[in-house]
């Protein structure tokens, strides 16, 4: 780790940071968050709460004899997320720069712990959780934010170095790959690839050269092929995505049920709460495949509304990024936005059979407390940086 005290060149740098001294300190009233960002996130969360209840009620009643079981848990997540997000909105985000390596290191240790039998909790063939079952959380969700903070802090000072494969691109990508490995081992290919994609996306935002993108992609290709080819389950999923109707009872089951849900929704949908697919036909209806239930119950209009909200969120966030006055803030916005948008893109891609089946939740909407909390924190960080943008 580089020392905190740096010689002349960087003391010069500090003065170009344009960071305004936080005037008057705590007494100053906090500006309200950016209206566009707040409204789009609130809209997505609202759709999420309604749809989680609708999509999960059947499963919840069958498993827990309480139709609102998942709704309650999601509301608790929302409450915790709201508190943490408020904190993320209020803090001096420039301080995160210094703690980002430590934060990533702690997260990495937690990721390794999930892999240890008896410590990591196992559900559905994957070890992804830590803690007791009532209060468990997914370190991989935290890892996404940790990698964004780390990469943003590094890119803030890399400058011309981002054009170098050896000094700029490779070290940062290696860190992302190392963090992705334990996630991949859980196994959670979706989140693992999200971590790498987000780091890559941030490098592109920093001005990474196109030739290097090609080189890096080619270099990672054998790894991807090896990972996918290594287990029959992953291979089958990828092949099923290419032609789900070949084996609709087995490997293509998820996708076929998802497409059936979307198709039966039509333009206007079958009506809120009237989904039939959620009755044990569509697996993971309230988590990874919630978008299919939205399509079935609210139709094309419902899905387009969700897409429009994500698009508005991303456009607004990147517009604000252009007005940031410090580089760390810029990369923080880029990273957090890409985290959310790439995730939405993959999730919707899976549901519409445009992307291989990988378990990635739809941000703000899918059931999952850790995911909701971390996405709210990410959105709050964007609004935090926006507060200081010109």
């Amino acid at each position: 780790m580089r020392s905190r005290r740096r010689p002349a060149a960087s003391s010069v740098f500090a003065s170009t940071q344009l960071a305004r001294p936080v005037a008057a300190g705590r007494r100053a009233p906090v500006a309200p968050p950016d209206a566009w960002l707040f409204a789009t996130v609130a809209g997505l969360v609202a759709i999420g709460i309604v749809m989680v209840f609708s999509a999960s009620s059947a499963t919840a009643y069958a498993d827990y004899h309480d139709t609102a079981y998942f709704l309650k848990r999601q509301l608790i997540g929302l409450a915790i997320g709201g508190v943490l997000a408020y904190g993320a909105y209020r803090i001096d985000y420039t301080r995160l720069k210094r703690i980002s390596p430590a934060f990533l290191a702690v997260t990495f240790v937690l990721l390794l712990l999930t892999l240890v039998p008896h410590i990591g909790l196992q559900t559905g063939g994957a070890r992804r959780w830590l803690g007791f079952h009532a209060i468990s959380f997914q370190p991989s969700e935290v890892a996404k934010l940790a990698i964004v903070l780390f990469v943003a802090a590094k890119l803030a000072t890399v400058g011309e170095g981002v054009r170098s494969l050896v000094r700029g691109v490779t070290p940062l990508l290696l860190v992302a790959l190392v963090v992705a490995l334990p996630i991949l081992a859980e196994p959670d290919m979706g989140t693992a690839s999200l971590v790498v994609f987000t780091a890559l996306g941030m490098l592109l935002c920093a001005g990474m050269r196109f030739e290097h993108l090609v080189i890096v992609t080619l270099a990672m290709l054998p790894g991807i092929v090896l990972t996918v080819g290594s287990s029959a389950y992953k291979r089958a999923r990828v092949l099923a995505f290419l032609n789900p109707w070949k084996d609709p009872e087995n490997t293509g089951f998820h996708i076929v049920q998802s497409l059936l849900a979307l198709g039966s929704g039509g333009i206007f949908g079958v009506g809120l709460g009237a989904s039939r697919q959620k009755f044990f036909y569509l697996p993971e209806a309230h988590t990874d495949f919630i978008f299919a239930v939205i399509g079935e119950e609210l139709g094309l209009l419902g899905t387009l509304a969700v897409l429009a909200l994500f698009a508005a969120f991303a456009i607004r966030a990147f517009t604000i990024a252009q007005r940031t006055t410090d580089r760390f803030g810029y990369f923080l916005i880029c990273g957090c936005t890409m985290l959310i948008v790439i995730q939405a893109f993959i999730n919707i891609g899976v549901v519409t059979s445009s992307w291989p089946v990988t378990g990635v939740p739809l941000p703000f909407i899918s059931f999952g407390s850790t995911s909701l909390i971390m996405n709210l924190v990410a959105a709050a960080l964007i609004m935090n940086v926006a507060r200081r943008a010109r």
């Binding site: 060149a9 010069v12 170009t16 011309e160 920093a206």
Partner: protein, 467 residues
């Protein structure tokens, strides 16, 4: 202390005394005459030197007050304006200050009456070129631009007519900066600080401190631009890194961290935006700069960064740089025949400028140097002269002093410019450069650096080029 605290607005509430009737003082009289309630002028020079100035005063209806009679008008005067040539600690100024009258320099007054934002530039060498280039850049971007200060017009002429949407580009010297109070440029720029004017300053530190006053009044809404490669300029941030309150942008030859404009592979000028999208933007190739010499790359970078900081269009900036005509008497080629290139760098009036000039050529050089020294040390210049020239022809008062520091090159002493050029001709062969880069003031032999350059050009044969 009978002067009201509100004095210095230079409107009807002020009665002004102009001290010194040089170019700047007369400009002050001209501009302030219609603005203030009453105007007086004084000058310590002998009467016979002031004939033209007194005629001007008479025409403008401004009373001239003999220095000896000043005490009579002190009660009536609310503020005094000082011309750059008059020493701050001189007897005349002390008397005015002792009477409780605030004394402002012309540049301070120019600032106070200015409605437009000001770009102020200072440095030891290359100021005039860079100021002119910045002016060209702002004009190219469609701004109504007034260029003044050390070059051409007195600054007060420009600031008096500039409107709020216009820009004033000001070249300011360390002397002018010494006596500023509230002078607050929108953009300040220091291109370099090298030993010069040590006849006036006791030490390098004192000289640098005078230069640093350029950003003393700037706040977070203003911009400071500095040369990161110049160790003295870079030290402007102060030990605790909090001296510059303006946002600071730096240019450098290498892509250091925190440098906003730099060279990529020593070939391309690249801008790393400090706000918004941080991806570096290529501005232009060094090869497209029409000015010769490595130091001119720095001058161009300073000018580009000023333009970018003012939010000007990149294309307009580059177009202005490409089309920029080199300044006269600054590494200007005046004659080229028989393979020998005659270059006039008569405005190189300090050793640093000579070193820069010598380093900007990779051909054998016959140097003509010397003149009236300003108390500077020629040791450093001597080393570069020894390593870069085949012959050094020395003229003027400082010839012997410079000769002491030149080791390996042929040294010849000349009595006049014609003599120097004739000796140079005997040493130069095809492929060589004859460079007039005196490193000294011209006043021992010529009326100005321009006259010295013209004499060189005429002697060399480039008569038709002499304006």
């Amino acid at each position: 202390m009978n002067a009201p605290l509100t004095s210095g607005r230079f409107d009807r509430s002020d009665r002004v005394l102009v001290i010194g009737l040089g170019r700047s003082g007369r400009a002050s009289v001209e501009v302030l005459g219609p603005r203030v309630a009453a105007l007086y002028a004084t000058d310590e020079s002998p009467r016979d030197r002031l004939t033209a100035a007194l005629a001007d005063l008479e025409a403008a209806g401004v009373p001239f007050v003999e220095p000896a009679d000043l005490a009579e008008i002190f009660p009536k005067v609310t503020v005094a304006v000082l011309s750059p040539g008059i020493p701050l600690n001189g007897e005349l100024v002390r008397r005015v200050q002792a009477a409780g009258i605030p004394v402002f320099s012309e540049v301070e007054v120019a600032y106070r009456i200015c409605k437009a934002p000001i770009v102020a530039l200072t440095g030891t060498k290359g100021k005039s070129t860079t100021t002119a280039l910045i002016g060209a850049i702002f004009r190219s971007a469609g701004k109504t631009t007034y260029v003044g200060g050390n070059i051409g017009n007195a600054l007060i002429h420009e600031t008096a007519i500039a409107q709020p949407d216009d820009w004033v580009i000001a070249e300011v010297s360390s002397f002018q900066l010494e006596s500023i109070r509230s002078f607050k440029p929108r953009i300040s720029c220091i291109i370099n600080i090298t030993p010069d004017h040590l006849d006036r300053y006791h030490s390098m530190d004192e000289y640098a401190e005078a230069k640093f006053r350029i950003f003393a009044n700037q706040g977070p809404g203003d911009t400071f631009i500095g040369n990161h490669d110049d160790p003295i300029v870079a030290s402007a941030v102060g030990e605790d890194n909090n001296r510059i309150r303006a946002r600071a942008f730096w240019f450098a030859r290498e892509p250091h961290r925190g440098v906003t404009l730099y060279l990529r592979n020593e070939r391309t000028i690249v801008y790393a935006p400090p706000t918004g999208d941080p991806r570096p933007v290529e501005i232009m190739d060094v090869a497209d700069i029409p000015l010769r010499g490595a130091h001119n790359v720095e001058n161009v970078m300073a000018a580009i960064l000023v333009g970018l900081a003012a939010g000007l269009d990149r294309e307009a900036i580059v177009a202005a740089v490409r089309a920029f005509e080199p300044m006269h008497h600054r590494l200007e080629t005046v004659f080229d025949a028989d393979g020998i290139t005659w270059i006039d760098d008569s405005k190189a009036t300090n050793p640093g400028a000579v070193i820069a000039a010598l380093r900007s050529f990779d051909r054998p050089i016959v140097l003509i140097a010397g003149g009236k020294a300003k108390g500077t040390d020629f040791a450093e210049m001597g080393k570069v002269v020894s390593s870069r020239t085949k012959a050094a022809i020395l003229i003027g008062e400082s010839a012997a002093e410079i000769a002491k520091h030149v080791k390996r090159s042929v040294v010849a002493l000349a009595s006049s410019m014609d003599d120097a050029v004739a000796i140079a001709r005997t040493h130069a062969v095809a492929g060589d450069i004859v460079l007039l880069s005196p490193g000294c003031a011209s006043f021992d032999m010529f009326t100005s650096a321009e006259a010295r350059g013209d004499a060189f050009a005429a002697a060399a044969g480039g008569v038709e080029r002499v304006r």
